[in-house]
Amino acid sequence: MSGDSAERAGIEVEGLVREFKNGPRAVDGIDLRVAPGAIYGFLGPNGAGKSTTVLMLTTLLPPTAGTARVAGFDIVREGGRLRGAIGAALQEAALDPLLTGREHMRLQTALHGLAKAERSERSDELLARVGLSEAADRKVGGYSGGMKRRLDLALALAHRPRILFLDEPTTGLDIQSRTALWDEVARLASEDGVTVFLTTQYLEEADALANQVGIIDHGKIVAEGTPAELKAEIGRPTVEAVPRDPADQERVARALQPFGERCGTTHRGGASVLLTGGESQLADVVRALDAEGIAIEQLQLHAPSLDDVFLAKTGRSLEGAGEEEAEADSGEMAAVRA
């Protein structure tokens, strides 16, 4: 692959496997493809294999089997060139508490070979972009979690990478810091054309940011597609109507029945139905209820969520799975670092 096409390339993974000594297959033969400029959300509970995948794709952990090309470079044979094309903010913001934000930037830009004159300009630009200009000369040990994550992102961008790996970038952040980081990641993809590989255990994060989502569980990808495709594959929306007069509950149920499946009453005194024809039937539902002369207190459309997708593919809820496997995950990372 020529240098130009390599720069344009995204990520291609085939049959990637990672086994640890005396441990399970942390990554068990995954295939995935990320288009250039896309945001790929890699969703799964703790211990599912997300971070191990990132370590392999960033060349920090050799795969046991399988192949992958990142920015057109093979992760095993062309590690040096690959690292020049990617930026990464790994699971924990790996910063030196004794250095300032500006000193971190200076070190990172210098090690990536930026010309001396360009280093401070690039550092100032990135610190401003992540909102750390005022805190740039303070030691990182005094930064909040959100500030550390933002500095981590700025450091990952120091050498203008074509592909950015973000491993659970918002874990532990408050909603304000999380939203700010989402905005910046979205801007990087849409304005700068950076391909983003984002691991997360937050459904709303994958939903809000990703063009494409891969759901991983026990080292295997169990579902892949756009968030809309995944939801559409799993289920249709449910509409729930609650009458003003509780005595009308059965009438509501009868009115909803023609629109879909699993029609029944709800604990809130109303009735619901899984819409066979999707959201477009909502107007017809309203007209049907009106034609019956039923006064409606509440009408709610419940869209299918990625958690519904996870539940359907694995038989478990994503949040519960995370708690179950947290212990397994810490063991896995210890193995990576050992």
Partner: protein
């Protein structure tokens, strides 16, 4: 786009020096503890100079060589602990994602040991001379003492780097401290080799390279210029540095499994 080796070493050296200077907890014990032991030993053992064959009538001058070795032991702890912390926090992974060369990483990390070594040597020597120690080799000898002290500090620092890379644990590196202290005690620390009467202790101290490092300092303090002792001292420091760097480089390759 890739930084030259000198740029990489310079940047990591700068970080290492900044880290050292910003951690008084590393500098102060490395200065105070050896000087405290010097004060205790030179006060309590001064009658030892009456032994026939003792090379000087000032035990302070004889004992002044010891803080330089103790300072080097602190460099093992400091260099090793700093690197172990980088491994534990993932900072080493951050560095591994840059085009950083292993040699630059190790050399840069040792820069902090150089700074600490210079500060230690100047302070130990100054305090010793103010307290009444002799310096037979004069001003030139003082310079050589500083250079030798820094050489030993850096050489021992590579052992700290090796331990950190092998274990990835700051606690494990700190666990080496008592071991090194025993090695120091099993040397000619308190008496010249030729005055050690116990056979097994004499044999162990004679085989212990630390005895010859101490003798290199003592030759400058007590005798003047003894090129044989100096060559042996610098030679041992060079050998420890070479072995330590080789071992640390091998351990770095294992630790940094980047493809």
């Amino acid at each position: 786009m890739s930084a030259g080796l000198s740029t990489q070493v310079g940047q990591l050296a700068r970080r290492s020096v900044l880290r050292t200077l910003r951690q008084p907890g590393q500098i102060v014990p490395a200065l105070v503890f050896p000087l405290f032991l010097l004060a205790v030993n030179s006060g309590g053992l001064k009658e030892t100079t009456n032994l026939p064959g003792f090379p000087t009538d000032s035990y302070l001058t004889f004992a002044l060589a010891v803080p330089f070795m103790q300072g080097a032991l602190f460099s093992v702890m400091n260099a090793g602990t700093d690197l172990a912390r980088d491994i534990e926090t993932g900072f080493l992974n951050r560095l591994a994602l840059t085009p950083l060369r292993g040699a630059a990483l190790l050399s840069g990390l040792l820069a902090g040991a150089v700074v600490l070594g210079v500060v230690q040597a100047v302070v130990y020597l100054s305090v010793g001379l103010i307290a009444g120690a002799e310096l037979a080799a004069g001003a030139g000898g003082a310079l050589v003492i500083v250079v030798l002290s820094v050489s030993i500090t850096v050489a021992f620092g590579t052992i700290g780097l090796f331990a950190a890379l092998r274990t990835g644990s700051g606690e494990a590196v700190q666990g080496l401290f008592p071991l090194f202290f025993v090695v120091l005690f099993l040397s000619s620390m308190a008496l010249p080799l030729e005055l050690l009467q116990t056979d097994w202790f004499h044999a162990v101290a004679s085989a212990n390279p630390v005895s010859y490092l101490l003798q290199a300092f003592r030759s400058l303090l007590i005798e003047g210029w003894n090129l044989g002792d100096l060559a042996l001292g610098f030679g041992i420091a060079a050998a420890v540095l070479a072995i330590g760097m080789f071992a640390a480089s091998a351990a770095l390759k294992t630790r940094l499994v980047r493809t």
